[in-house]
């Protein structure tokens, strides 16, 4: 599963019918099993890239392909910023929703329960989302995206609303899941440390629509203490400098 974005441009039309360019001539190739983070100031089009990759938005120019086929709705697993668990459905029914919608996804309740166990939510099958903590809801939402069965997962700032401690736990948890499952992940974050800790490559979006690509010089498997390595600290300072000098 290779995802290719060729010369993709997108602008949105506001209420005054003015066109605002968000993405300009983006070229990117994401290899199978890669973990890519997208960072950048607000308004640089991070979420837009993800929504283009789901097929929710159509690019004005260029094309987005998975394995040489144009992308369409239902081709990737998508996890938006909010967990968006349906409040009237139990956790089990929430994670089953993809298999209800897509004909090519078949999953029994037993299989879904095993997955819940795997993400540490066993015993919560028949509980409503409001009874779960933030971290647990986020894990359920991730599982829902995962159980769409797609090889590419797009995660839009999934841990943005969590407290620092839970966030750290969730990052390690996400890495372990990713290593076991051989998925390709595109991950949006505001948190530079998070981006460095998780990814193979970081895409830095600039307000002037330039896109910079930075490789993370840390080996796998990652450990939290690696963030204190010299190369990680240097990279972090470099990224901070790049972002700090910009205004939107």
């Amino acid at each position: 599963m290779t995802v290719v974005l060729k010369n993709v441009s997108y602008s949105y039309t506001n209420e005054k019918r003015q066109k605002n360019l968000v993405i300009s001539h983006l070229n990117m190739e994401i290899k199978n099993g890669e973990f890519i983070s997208i960072i950048g100031r607000s308004g640089t089009g991070k979420s837009t890239i993800l929504r283009l990759m789901t097929g929710l938005l159509q690019p004005d120019e260029g094309e987005i392909q998975i394995d040489q086929k144009d992308i369409s709705l239902g081709d990737v697993g998508y996890m938006p910023q909010k967990d968006l668990l349906l409040p009237w459905r139990t956790i089990l029914d929430n994670i089953m929703i993809a298999s209800e919608i897509q004909q090519d996804v078949h999953m029994t309740k037993e299989e879904a329960s095993i997955w819940l166990q795997r993400v540490g939510l066993s015993g919560y099958e028949h509980v409503l989302p409001k009874q779960l903590s933030g971290g647990m809801r986020q894990r359920a939402a991730f599982l829902r995206a995962l159980l769409t069965g797609k090889d590419v997962l797009l995660l839009d700032e999934p841990f943005g609303a969590l407290d620092a401690l839970t966030k750290k736990e969730m990052q390690s948890w996400l890495l372990s899941m990713w290593q076991d499952l051989n998925k390709t992940i595109v991950f949006i974050t505001h948190d530079l440390e998070e981006a460095i800790f998780l990814s193979d490559r970081i895409l830095l979006l600039h307000p002037d629509h330039r896109i910079e690509e930075i490789s993370v010089p840390l080996s796998r498997p990652r450990k939290p203490e690696m963030l204190l390595f010299e190369e990680a600290v240097t990279l972090r300072q470099k990224l901070e400098k790049k972002i700090a000098n910009e205004t939107t």
Binding site: R51, T54, G55, L56, S72, L73, G74, D75, V76, Y78, P80, K82, L84, L86, P87, W88, I97, A98, E100, I101, Q102, L128, K130, T148
Partner: protein, 258 residues
């Protein structure tokens, strides 16, 4: 265990019950002491006696007639109201055409319309059913339509990203999300419908509690009027409780606002 809900009921409503009993006692005293004549307000005990002595005609003949009108009118209003709301939801054209008409139907004084119903349907049950539908249709349509529209765009996009079609989104998102708003309308309507059936009977009927209370009023029999009102009130409360119970069964698990 059966004691528990009853106990809770008394705990919740004890102040209201106390107030209610005090008011009844004062009325009883006022009438018995001849401060208020009994053809203006009857004694509460007199009303109860009236119901006990006339339970057969009151409950079997008149209440059942009113309930039949209520059931037919309310069911038709719910079915047609929900269908219309769904049509408006799916078609902007229908919405633009029909929604103002639905609103205007509420502005028309129903009593003024009723002679037309009598003209169309005569003194059959259908003239009362028509009044019932007209009076309780509006909350159902508006409640359902607003509920269907209230769905969060983010949820819709999430399901679309999974490849859901319009029907699946309607079934899995819009319907469950519309339920709380639908039930607000449903609960209002169920009470209105009973009022509608009663008003319908004023216009011309040969049985029913509305007809009965009007006839008693003509006879200056205040006890009879209040007996009919008491029964209608109790039935109204029971119907509302039933609607709340159905609502609880379907949405209260997750909807905090109830």
């Amino acid at each position: 265990m059966p004691m528990k809900p009853l106990k809770k009921f008394f705990q919740t409503y004890r102040l209201f019950l106390l107030f209610f009993i005090i008011v009844l006692a004062i009325v009883e005293w006022l009438v018995r002491a001849d401060i208020i004549p009994s053809f203006i307000i009857p004694t509460p005990t007199g009303v109860i006696q009236m119901i006990i002595h006339n339970w057969r005609p009151l409950l079997i003949e008149h209440l059942s007639a009113t309930m039949l009108e209520f059931i037919i009118g309310f069911s038709l209003a719910v079915i047609s109201g929900v269908l219309l709301a769904i049509c408006m939801f799916f078609s902007k054209t229908i919405e633009k055409m029909v929604y103002p008409a639905v609103v205007i139907s509420q502005m028309v004084p129903i009593i003024a319309l009723s002679p037309i119903f009598v003209l169309w349907f005569g003194y059959t049950i259908w003239s009362k059913v028509a009044v019932t539908i007209l009076i309780c249709f509006f909350p159902i349509v508006v409640g359902t339509y607003d509920g269907l529209k209230s769905c969060d765009q983010e949820y819709i996009e999430l399901l679309r990203s999974m490849g859901a079609n319009r029907f699946q989104i309607f079934q899995k998102l819009h319907i469950p999300m519309a339920l709380p708003s639908f039930f607000s309308g449903f609960k209002m309507s169920i009470v209105f419908a009973l009022v509608g059936a009663t008003i319908g009977e004023w216009l011309g009927a040969s049985k029913g509690l509305g007809y009965y209370s009007r006839r008693m009023s003509g006879n200056l029999n205040a006890e009879g009027v209040f007996a009919a009102i008491t029964i209608l009130t109790i039935v109204g409360i029971l119907l509302f409780a039933l609607a709340s119970w159905i609502e609880k069964r379907t949405t209260n698990k997750w909807n905090n606002s109830n």
